[in-house]
């Protein structure tokens, strides 16, 4: 099916973008190494959460604290933002006129979805505090607060990075540093989807089942 092999994991820009494609190899691989170390962090916080599930110390548990509906909407928002990010990368890669506008439009939509996710998550965490779910209440809640807000912080950081890249596209156009930055942010953006799937399955769906 393909005549070339990919040089690195993640979407390859291909020989139509020779300079960025060449530079991306080491940069994207390096970013994957970081991403995998981050995966270990999240995995172990998730394992800690599982070991803490029964340690309520008389405080509220999953069924008292969590609500399915906001988590459902947040999941849809995050999954959709992954698709729109993919569309941004595809228009970067394939737009015949190498136009900036379609890339910026998709990136803008992705940014809006990412920020909406963070806002909803912040509202949920605030509601949790109102229900007596502060991190110091029990071992269970400490583990929860170490895990879920850390993911939200990652999404916030990714959104800030996305804003910086949008500003760069605005100022410099689609040059090589911008292209390789978009490939790396893409790895982070899709990876945060994977982590969120693990979190909803164990924490929210598992807790409310």
């Amino acid at each position: 099916m393909n005549t070339e092999t990919g040089r690195h994991p993640g979407l390859n820009l291909g020989s139509g973008h020779a300079e960025a494609h060449g530079e991306a190899e080491a940069l994207v691989f390096g970013f994957w190494v970081f991403m995998m170390s981050d995966l270990v962090t999240f995995g172990l916080l998730l394992a800690t959460y599982v070991t803490m599930l029964d340690n309520l110390a008389g405080g509220p548990g999953p069924k008292d604290l969590f609500e399915l509906k906001p988590v459902f909407i947040e999941t849809l928002v995050l999954l959709t933002s992954s698709l729109t990010y993919g569309m941004a990368i595809l228009s970067l890669k394939h737009d015949p006129g190498r136009r900036v506008q379609p890339v910026l439009a998709w990136l803008g939509l992705t940014l809006v979805l990412g920020l909406a996710f963070v806002a909803m998550e912040a509202k949920d965490l605030h509601a949790l505090l109102a229900k007596g779910g502060a991190p110091q209440r029990s071992g269970f809640l400490s583990a929860f607060w170490a895990l879920v807000p850390l993911h939200a912080l990652h999404v916030t950081a990714a959104a800030l990075w996305l804003m910086a890249i949008v500003a760069q596209v605005w100022r410099f156009g689609l040059d090589t540093p911008v292209k390789t930055a978009l490939l790396r942010l893409g790895v982070l953006w899709h990876f945060l989807d994977v982590v969120w799937i693990a979190i909803i399955s164990v924490v929210f769906l598992g807790g409310l089942a």
């Binding site: 099916m1 690195h8 994991p9 993640g10 390859n12 139509g16 994957w32 992954s82 698709l83 089942a209």
Partner: protein, 116 residues
């Protein structure tokens, strides 16, 4: 699959023609929704007994992670440098040992200490 790639100006990038790539993203999105919606439905309306529900959530999550890696992160078994796949698989191994080990040991300890 063995048909030659159209030779416009996009001759065989590693991810296929633009149409194939677009279709791949849409498939990924469709599959991820398909693996998400029924699970939320099952939890919201108690379609299954508890143990079966947990198994369903776990199976859907594993499939979902595979979909995300395949369609969005473009990690494949073939067609890319081997080191990258090895990096991901090795991390998965380390994580399985450390995460699984943590849960196993602490659960065991909890049992021996009488538990809360």
């Amino acid at each position: 699959m063995s048909a030659p790639v159209e030779t416009e100006d996009e001759t065989g990038t590693p991810d296929g023609t633009p149409q194939q790539e677009l279709r791949s993203y849409l498939w990924g999105y469709g599959l991820s929704l398909l693996l998400t919606l029924p699970v939320f439905g099952a939890v919201a309306w108690d379609w299954l007994p508890r143990a079966a529900l947990w198994w369903a959530i776990g199976a859907a999550a594993v499939a979902q992670v595979a979909v995300q890696f395949r369609f969005f992160l473009h990690i494949r078994l073939k067609g890319q440098a081997k080191e990258d796949l090895q990096l991901v698989l090795f991390t998965a191994l380390i994580l399985a040992m450390m995460g699984g080990g943590t849960i196993w040991i602490l659960h065991n300890l909890d049992g021996r200490m009488g538990g809360p």
